[in-house]
């Protein structure tokens, strides 16, 4: 269970998050929607520990562990995974080497032996099939020369490899055509277990047609101002955010 209490965060001295309260139980999918600049990406980055963001108040715990006291990699070992809006290219570091290092680092943190080479390659093959990612791609450097769709697919592939308990999908639908969106979303659905919980950041209902949220939040001006069921996302798709702003002002 992820619990965020009264979270305030700044970047470059500017306050972006102004008191977020959010509880996500195991197995729940929460969608977070909001206007550009509302603080959606900041929320994701603060959870995973991006060094550019400063938490000024509040707490985040995952299964009772204080995430804010942990390093970026410790949070990852605890089971937090973020699918990046803009995945980073790392020329010269092969996908295989990158994944092996990541998988074994997590195993070490969990007190497990490193995977044997053959077992690791077997795992790669299995997970590759889930997101329909080409063997050609995993033999290249991380994200280097990947198309937009391939990068997003690669994010879900990495998620499958690392088997996280809490996932953040930061605008996973951006830059994807309809077919690629379906493959990526279905990939996520295949990976997730009954225990997997997630925050799904999106501007559009389209992604939520595939990844069905239990709860939908509206983030405006650094605060969660409205919470509802899946129907809230449909209403936003039709009417935008102005009616919510008007409600707030009323």
């Amino acid at each position: 269970m992820l619990e965020i209490k009264n979270l305030h965060a700044t970047v470059g001295g500017k306050e972006i998050l102004r008191g977020i309260n959010l509880t996500i139980r195991d197995g729940e999918i929460h969608a977070v929607m909001g206007t550009n600049g509302a603080g959606k990406s900041t929320l994701c980055n603060v959870i995973v520990g991006h060094p550019a963001y400063t938490v000024t108040e509040g707490s985040i715990t995952l299964d009772g562990q204080d995430l804010l006291a942990m390093s970026i990699e410790e949070r990852a070992h605890a089971g937090v995974f973020m699918s990046f809006q803009h995945p980073i290219e790392i020329p010269g570091v092969s996908m295989v080497n990158f994944m092996r290092t990541a998988v074994n680092a997590r195993r070490q943190a969990l007190g497990l032996e490193p995977l044997k080479s053959t077992d690791f390659l077997k795992l790669m093959r299995e997970k590759r099939a889930l997101v329909d990612i080409d063997n050609r791609l995993v033999n290249r450097s991380v994200n280097e020369g990947f198309s937009g769709g391939e990068k997003k697919r690669n994010e879900i592939f990495q998620m499958a490899m690392l088997d996280p308990s809490f996932c953040i999908l930061d605008e996973t639908d951006s830059g994807l055509d309809v077919d690629a969106l379906r493959v990526v979303a279905e990939g996520f659905n295949k990976i997730r277990t009954e225990q997997t919980s997630a925050i799904v950041i999106t501007h559009y209902q389209r992604l939520l047609d595939y990844i069905k949220p239990d709860v939908v939040h509206v983030l405006l001006n650094g605060q969660l101002v409205k919470t509802g069921g899946p129907e809230l996302a449909q209403q936003i798709e039709k009417q935008g955010f102005d009616w919510i702003k008007e409600e707030l002002n009323a």
Partner: protein, 454 residues
Amino acid sequence: MKTSELQYIELFRQCRQMLDAGSTPVLNALRDEAMAAFERLGLPTRKVERYKYTDVPAAFAPDYGLNLQRKDIPANVQDNFRCDVPNLSTHLIYSINDVPQPSPAAASTFNTFDETSGGIFIGSLAEASRQRSELVALYYGRLTDLQDNALAALNTAFCQDGIFVYVPRNQRLQQPLQLINLLRSSVDMMVNRRLLIVLEEGAEATLLLCDHAMDTVSFLTTQVIEVHCADNAHLNLYEVEETHTKCHRFSNVFIQAGRDCTVTHNNLTIFNGLTRNTTDVVIAGENTEVTLNGCVVADKNQHVDNNTLIDHRVPNCRSHELYKYVADDAATGAFAGRILVRQDAQKTDSKMTNANLCASTEAHVYSQPMLEIYADDVKCSHGSTVGVLDTQQLFYMQQRGIPTEEARMLLKFAFVGQVIDEITLQPLRERLHYIVEKRFRGELSKCTGCALCK
């Protein structure tokens, strides 16, 4: 004249007879001219353009011993030393300090100019000059820029032996030649090392030179490598320095290539103290391709200065240059590369790249790429970058659970890996990837018997 120079000048005068006695007439013939040039030039100070990044007189100031009497240095090299490039089927020869060692069986067939081995010679330069004095005299010291290069002049004045590699017309070394240079001494030692490579028309060779230090005293090494490539000769020359922080290396490589040659020189500084590598290439024949690559891994107070010159004298030739540095801690790196395209060298195609990574705030890298073009129909480019580790890449890796140090290591390794990927000799390429990775992990074992290496 300062003390740095005086001690060598006086030593030369006092020991002239001993120098000659331990060498041969061909090598002795150049001594006076070389010492006269050294006296006139003096050691280059930082005011000399090509030496602005390295304090040469300071490195030559301490009192080092020299083995002018050519005493044997006890070392059972085959037993005591394991170079980190095994799995590579090579002709293996050793040199301890500047003394070539009796060849192990595999290479011994080549230390005469025997017709059964195609006239190929691999072995002691002094021995070669005794057997074929006119041949060695034809090449020895001919490319060494004695009148302008004080370090090469000093080396020539003191050099008593070295390695001679001679591949006659249309012959080919079937296996790569691996020359392991071991530094070995109980007192601080100066070593004047020499390598003369002659590839006649149509000859081919691949050489791997590995520098190691087996003892923890200070070493001062001057090295002169002269490479003659006649028309249609093909040479791969790899140098790997893996010594220790008390080693000072001053290397001068002179390469002259005729027409239709391919020449690759790849210089890897994996572990060192202070290193200055000067590489001068003259392209004297058309349709020749020259590649100069290098990679540097430096941390602590290590200092690595690579200075290159590619002299395009004739039309229709190509040259590529790629040097990459990773400097960590308080290390200093310098790269100055000059491509000279003379008036007649039309249709030259040349590209120089120097990319550097400063992995700490105290590390410094100086980059000075230079193009000097007098022809009007050429394609030349140069590029230079100095950067730090990419924080977005680090963050991405850490988010996947890769610990910070491991992520930094992977990024540094990836950065210089590009240079190693250029190596055509596959076992060597794989081995160097492995060595560099170990280097970044601080697990370099290098040689047995060397405390500093561990």
